[in-house]
Structures are given as C-alpha cells and as structure tokens.
Symmetry: C2
C-alpha cells in the first residue's frame, strides 16, 4: 500500500507518526509532501520549520513538552545573536536545531536541492517515511497585513502571534515553481492521498498552489481530508486568523467547502469530521460529500494511529 | 598620535592589546588593518578568524587558556554538525563564536560590507581601536600542496596542521581587490605604521598583496616591523611551514629581507629584532637596515605594551 500525505508542521507530524504506527510491520510506503512556505532565511541560515518538525517527531528527538523543536534544547547561540542585536530576536533558535539549519545551509551552498537535503536529513534516523519538500524553489509565504505592509509569515506568526489583521497570504514566485521531483508521482501513484489536519491556508494551501499539484490530485486514486477544526475551534496554532483573512469561517464544514470535492473541481473525495462536529455532517452529506465522523484528537500515538487507519481505509 | 597596525590573528591581537595599553589615556588613534585571507565559508556561514581573534582579545572575552576563541565556550552546535556529517568536522566551531558568525552572515545578506560589519562588531565592546578589514572583497587564501591540489588555508592549517608540504599560497581574485575604505588613508595618514609580529606569509602577506596597499606604504611617514621569529623559531603557529613554502628561511633576518627596506622598494624602515637574535643585527646593519634589538616576548599585557612603546618610538 502506498500512502502520500500532504502536511504542515506539528499537526502533520502527529498524523504521520500515527500513520507510521498504523502501518508498522506492513510493506506500506509512506511519502510526506511537506509545506515549505514557512521556510525562512535567518542570519544567512536557511530554516525549514515544517520539514524539521516532522523529522524530529518521527525521529523521536522532538520536545514533547513545548510541542516544537528538539528535546534537551539550549539557546546559547540565540542569546549571543541577541547580544549582537542581529537576526530576528523574537525567533527562538535552539542550538541543536541550529545544527540542522547549518548542515542544510552548507549543503545548499554545495549545490544540493531541497529534495536532496530532505533525503539527507531523513537518513540520519530510521524515520520510516520519505520526506519530500513540495518544491525545490523558494516560495516563502508572505502576509499582507492591514496597512498593505508585507511580512514574512514567520514574523507575522511568531512575532505578532497572528494578531495583526491579515488581508492575504502570498507565495511570491510560486507561479513559476514546479513540484519537487517525486511529488507528482507520489500523489498520482498512491493508493490514498491524505490531507493532514494542518493549517488549510498556510500549510496545505502553499502545497496546493504549486503548479501541477492540483492536476496530480485530479489524477489521484483517492483523496481523504482530515478536519483541522474540532468543535468549531482550531486544534492548535492560529489557523482561525488565517482562515478569516481568506474569508473562510473557522468551522469544519467551511474548511471542507474551501478544499472542495474533486467531483466539483476541488481536491477531496472524503472528509473526516470530528465527533464534536457531527451536527455538520447532514448538510455536507446533502451537498454530496462523503463524510465520516471520527475521533480526531491525536493526543497520543495510539489515537493518531486510529485516526490514520480511519483515513486510509475510509 | 595616529598608529596603524597591519595584523593577523593571535599575534596581532597580543600586540594591539599592548599598544592600546601603551597609549591609554592619550588621545592617540589606533587603526588595525586586519588580514581577511583566513576567512572562510563554513556551512553557509562566514567566518573571519583574524578579525574575531583581535576583537575578542580587545574585548577581554577571549579564551586565554586555549589561546583562541571565546572564554566559556561550548560546542553544542558543532557536535550536532558532526552528527549530520556536515561542514568541516575538524574545524572547531564554538557556540558563542558562532553567534558572531551568524550575526555577520545575516548582515552580509542584508547587504553590509565587511568594513561596515567590522564597525558593528567593534561597537559591542569598548575596544578602543578601529578595526578595518584589508579589503571588502573575498580573497580567501588557498594553499597549493605537493600534488598540485588546492586547499583552503584553514583546511591546510587546522586539519593538516600545516604538515602537508605547501608549494605556494594564493589569494584568487586579489589582483582585482581594492583596499577597504579607510585603509589607504590609515596607512598614509599615520605617524607610524607597524607590521605586527604576525605570520609574514599568510597574515601580513595578503594585506600587502591587496593592490594599493604597497603604494600606500610607500607614502607612509614611517614603517616599523616586528620579527615574528624569536631565537630562530616561530613564536606560535606554523609560520615556518609557510616561510619554507615561499623559500624564506625561518630566521629573523630572512624575514626582514623578505619584507625589504623601503629604500630598496620594500615595506620597512625599521626592524625590531629579539634579544635572542642579537647576533643577526650586525650583518643587517651592514646591509643598511635600521635594526633595534628589543625583548619581543608578549607573555603579558605589560610586556606587549613595552614592545609597542618600542615600536612606535623607534
């Protein structure tokens, strides 16, 4: 069995860890196409927050207390950067994490692509899945805020905690980007493609915006989406601010309609709705949606595995 | 009084610290033109070993035990880079030191020149001298070894401990480099220019090789050099391997002749010779040299200050 997941960072990482557990012992192949819109240059170093979140979670070296970054992290270099009044002082840069960024930046300088770098990163630990960046091009997400100013997504998200009203999210240059090698094949060749319960706007959105990805999804065998909204609320992060900016209500049915049914030119065949949102199912079913009501909380690997099983067998 | 010093890393740092002490309380202006041939890109980050050695020593944050780097240093990131099999595993990259490199790399990405960066670096602590890179161009020193292979100087120096026979030292692109803004003026406008007791081949050599520097020295008021060889031996480092490569004997008189007298088209007016090498003085004096025999060991700031006083008043 071949499963391909489109994913952002933390929510994507939890889902993929559950999926790996669900398929353990089988000869299933898992490919994760990861959002790279969150990527950024910081003090000349290239960061890829979503790639790293998934990598660390699968390697079991992530900080489960904080919910992001490496376990046992320190911030020696970051403190020093602050003393230099350099970089982005509001961006936490862990020392162990920085090792990853420096390795990546060195490889970039050596001429490796992001795809080749993801392969190298994924080979350090037996993570059991193939990590693919959505594209080898740099198409960082920018946020156009109230007064028309553009901020890098990370600045808006981390510095302003998404409290500055966003008018739009853009990925400059994405119209000329192409999917990274293997992405189209991973989507069209999979038995099932899963849209992880990641941020629909700034995690799944950029992946779908890479020219060629929607076309590949149109050719996919089956596409299942998992609602990132449970009981009318975002599970984590500030996806509601992103949804509001693009005129989508923070509700599980509105997100489903935002993605759309493949039959109508959208990207989904099936939508997994939380038990807390079961009351939204009838209307969606009336509209022709294949909806499954399932427990969506991934509070531990076992629950995430149960959800993953539901997704790939639905 | 205006004093301009041409200097490499550790030896240069000791001398400049002594010079600062010697001139403390006066309104003297000290400018240090620093070799940047040792600079390197490492995992996408720009290192400037000589600039940083002088900076840390003047700021009093240097590790006096090891003789290089920051005091209280750790290597969290470096260990991680090794785990990634990335970068140059034989190059020690301290965490505090890395903060400097990242700040610099970020500023480079922001479009600052090395001159502007040196000014920012020098403004964190009250170092009391002006630091100027020899040039804003990147003219890293390469070593051509026995079999014709080219190595970055740092690889030859740090990894091979200068034990691989060098045939030549080159600074690709230096013919089109220009002195950093202020360098020519600092040399021509100084009451005395001092060649620090740094490596004549790979520290002072690249500075003199920047087109325009020798011309500026020809116009200088007075130029004094300090022998980096004491009792026929290098004080520290592996300058003997460098001297041998360019066909210069490791002796205080051979280095003097390598620099040459200004009267003969060289760069020196006066040569400070160690007491241990006093027997070399008569022949040099016969050849027309202005030679002063002085204690050259800079084992503490007081001795370095005494040497600096001797240099600027000779």
């Amino acid at each position: 069995m071949r499963v391909t997941v489109l994913a952002g960072g933390v929510g994507g990482a939890r889902f993929v860890r559950g999926l790996r557990a669900a398929l353990e012992g089988s000869d299933a192949e898992i490919t994760v196409v990861v959002n790279t819109g969150d990527d950024l240059w910081l003090s000349g170093v290239r960061l890829q927050p979503d790639i790293d979140s998934i990598l660390y979670a699968l390697a079991g070296v992530n900080d489960t207390e904080r919910g992001w970054g490496r376990a046992g992290e320190t911030e020696r270099v970051s403190d020093e950067l602050r003393a230099w009044d350099a970089g982005w002082p509001w961006f936490t840069l862990g020392d162990l994490d920085l090792g990853t960024h420096l390795a990546r930046t060195g490889w970039l300088r050596d001429g490796l692509t992001y795809t080749q770098i993801a392969e190298r990163l994924g080979s350090r630990w037996p993570i059991g899945v193939r990590l693919l960046p959505m594209t080898d091009s740099e198409v960082d997400t920018q946020v156009v805020v109230e007064d028309g100013t553009r901020l890098h997504f990370q600045e808006w998200w981390t510095r302003h905690r998404a409290t500055v009203l966003a008018r739009a999210f853009e990925n400059p240059g994405i119209e000329s980007a192409v999917p990274a090698p293997g992405v189209v094949e991973a989507i069209t060749g999979a038995d099932v493609v899963v849209l992880a319960p990641s941020n629909p706007v700034v995690s799944i959105g950029p992946i779908l915006a890479v020219p060629g990805v929607r076309e590949a999804i149109a050719d996919a065998a089956r596409v299942v989406g998992i609602s990132p909204i449970i009981g009318g609320k975002v599970v984590r992060g500030m996806a509601d601010a992103c949804l509001t900016a693009i005129g989508v209500e923070t509700s599980a049915d509105a997100v489903a309609r935002h993605y759309g049914r493949r039959a109508d030119g959208g990207v989904l065949d099936t939508w997994l709705l939380a038990e807390e949102d079961a009351d939204l199912a009838p209307v969606l079913i009336d509209e022709g949606w294949d909806v499954r009501v399932r427990p969506l909380w991934m509070s531990d690997v076992e629950r995430a595995a149960t959800l993953a099983r539901a997704a790939i067998t639905s």
